[in-house]
Amino acid sequence: MKNYLTKPLLFVLLATVLLIVAACSSNEDTGNSEDVDQGASEVEDDEKVLTIANATDIESFDIHNNNNTISEAVLINVFDYLIKNDPDGNKVPGLATDWDNIDETSWRLTLRDDVVFHNGDAFTAKDVKFTLERVAQDSALSQYYLYQEIDEVIIEDDYNVTIVTKNPDPIFINRLSRMGSGMLPADYIEENGFDHFLEEPIGTGPYQFSSWTRDDRVELVKNEDYYEGEVEWDAVVFRTIPEASTRVSELLVGGVDIIANVPVADMDRVAGEEGRSIITAPTRRVLQTILRHTDGYVTSDPIVREAIDLAIDKQAIVDSIAGGAGVLTRTSVTPGNFGADPSLYQQSVYDPEEAKRLLEEAGYTSEDLEISFSSAAQYGEYAEVIAAMLTEVGFTVNLDILEATAFYEQFNAKNFEEMFMIGIGNSLNDAANNYGRYLAEQAEDETDYDNPEVEELLQSALVNMDPEDRESQYQQVQQIFAEERPSIYLFQMEGIYGVNDRLDYSPREDEMFIVEEISLD
């Protein structure tokens, strides 16, 4: 009996020991026993390495075919823009030192003459023409819709270009200071083909491509020839860690230096750890509910819309669900974006008694006040609380929480009924981006919002080349929106970051990780 019992037991024991020995010895083999502390990066121990963890990966190194903030936050370190945004959102020289609006549809840009790509090729006007005309002409690219206004790029000489737009475009400079204007190497791509470029991308930025393992990590190393001199870090690793609690654990063990999107439930866990901090910072994203004005919907009555606004306690939502990371607002054009109306920022209305009174006075019974309310699953908790608040003042809410994919399909098909909730960002830093869907043609079958005065203001602002006048047009629109409520703004969302205290780091409002602005404390 003993004989056959001991053998298998020994077997298990042996196997376990072997496994542990194997695991430990491989630690030694790589000569990198600090892996546990440094993240499993392939960089040398004495190098100055910054590691940042995001929830999702970049889509590719094609800056014209990425469509999310996280991608841009990585790629901005490899590809320089013609014009840059400083941390306050001001336009400052990038690869272009000077820009002039020579007539309504033409812009003259002077380029830096001391810039080289990561392969040593000089950056010239040819690259500007190649880059901008590519994104302006290929409608299969996801950035195309933001650049199709560009008609032509004329090379004046190696370091001067004139860019011609199809129509007067007051936000043209904003287009030049975002992802689509990251400069691509024309000669390199023409010689080697675009597929080769995607395998071994080069730009002019402070960091150059080293390796990319999809859904794992992007590794960048310093550009020794950067035109603004010595850069801060030897290497930067952008890790993709989809699970939030794993990101938090990596921050706690020192595997990464910065993590984005800390879950509210984990904020205390990070803040309680010595040497780690939570930093919150406003983003350009505003959480809002959008209401249907179509005849036959109860939300077409301004009194009902006002009652909905009054019934929602936005501060309570920020405090209880968002972990305090939100700023109340009655406009979606937050400060730092062109056209913002500061009088509507940090404002909110909440008075459930008044909401009840308004509905009662207008003669509504509970049968009349049935509304459908759709939300994507990521905002599910907010939607449930809002539904409960609306029920309190007499609404019957049919809450419909959808998976993100299903939600965006419905959103694009304009299938929502009385009300839906969405967080909308502003990739152009300009009010024009906030109001596209309220132009009469776009609003059809969605909000059906129709106010001739607003339409005129918005249409005129789209081509108005006088900044002051244009700003006042957008401010008027915001005041009318606050009154008529085609949408009800809940709050400006803040980013929640977990940070290793060894860094001197302030998150940017545009959510970019500009590595050159992050240094050791």
């Binding site: 019992l5 077997f11 298990v12 491989s26 590719s60 699970e243 794993t246 063990v253 994919t405």
Partner: protein, 305 residues
């Protein structure tokens, strides 16, 4: 046997053809990728232009014709999301998935075989009760939770293993254990019941009465005959591991096939979904054929016609 193999390999072609048709139609029936590729502020015109640029305005049979004639030549089209050929994107994920699958299979086998046999031999003893209890627990604990607990204990508290990511063998220990624990639980119960059945057979009694030592009775006479069911469950588990173990991959930021496939479904990245499903189907068929071969080796009485 050779005839059987030859026939099985020939059957792969029509099976893959039918699967390709199914996945092609289903992917298109579940939604429009263009809706997800453009941001909130894009207009109807932008959407129409992109649909045309991607060729999605063509009739379905035309799209399928183009797809299948290219696929035969190994061209599964360009991934919308990554802007690159789909097949290499799928193939580059396979090593990570296979690596994790093999190691967790090894771990689960090492745990399950001794425990399952012990449990059967010591039927209704305290040991049996404990092993059964642990395997019920192992099966009941969700991978998601086990993974996070292993990270908290072994990485955050003890600092023994990296938290996440793919790298050396040390990166594999926690995710492989997370998967291995659940698999071992299932396999232990399977081995126990198979062994119990076999140990009650007449030929085992005969062997014992002949005075053969117990270790040989159990190891050679009983377990060898029980191996068929072990191989069955191993091949089933292996195919599901290859196609990706999304939850474990997500928790440990492991860049395997599961993450790619789920992201592709969410992004409606048709080229990736089609390529991945066909590759997985091919692997499942091959593993099934290999399993049949192993059956035959284990039990020469099995004949295939």
């Amino acid at each position: 046997m050779t005839r059987y193999l030859f026939k099985s390999i020939l059957q792969i072609v029509p099976v893959l053809f039918i699967i390709s048709m199914l996945v092609f139609v289903l992917v298109r029936a579940t939604g429009d990728p263009v809706a997800l590729m453009l941001p909130e502020s894009a207009t109807e015109q932008d959407r129409i232009e992109m649909t045309e640029a991607l060729g999605l305005n063509e009739p379905l049979y035309v799209q399928y014709g183009i797809f299948i004639s290219n696929a035969i030549r190994g061209d599964f089209g360009i991934s919308y999301h990554y802007g690159q050929q789909a097949l290499p994107l799928v193939l580059e994920r396979l090593p990570a998935s296979i690596e994790l699958a093999v190691v967790s299979m090894v771990i689960s086998t090492l745990i399950a075989i001794p425990l399952g046999i012990l449990s059967a031999l010591k039927r209704n003893s305290y040991l049996d009760l404990i092993i059964s209890g642990i395997s019920v627990l192992g099966k009941a604990m969700p991978n998601f939770w086990v993974g996070i607990m292993l990270i908290l204990f072994f990485s955050v508290m003890l600092g023994m293993f990296p938290v996440s990511g793919r790298g050396g063998l040390e990166n594999m220990v926690l995710p492989a254990f997370t998967l291995g624990v659940g698999l071992a639980a299932q396999m232990t119960r399977m081995i126990r019941s198979t062994m119990l059945e076999i140990l009650n057979q007449d030929y085992i009694r005969t062997a014992r009465s002949k005075g053969i030592i117990e270790a040989i009775v159990v190891g050679k006479h009983a377990f060898r005959n029980g191996l068929i069911s072990v191989v069955t469950i191993m091949s089933l588990q292996f195919t599901s591991l290859i196609s990706g173990t999304l939850i474990t991959e997500t928790v440990f930021a492991w860049p395997g096939l599961g993450q790619l496939l789920v992201a592709a479904v969410n992004n409606k990245d048709m080229a990736i979904i089609q390529a991945a499903v066909l590759i997985i189907a091919l692997l499942v068929i091959v593993i099934n054929i290999l399993t049949d071969v192993v059956y035959r080796l284990l039990d020469p009485r099995i004949k295939y016609n």
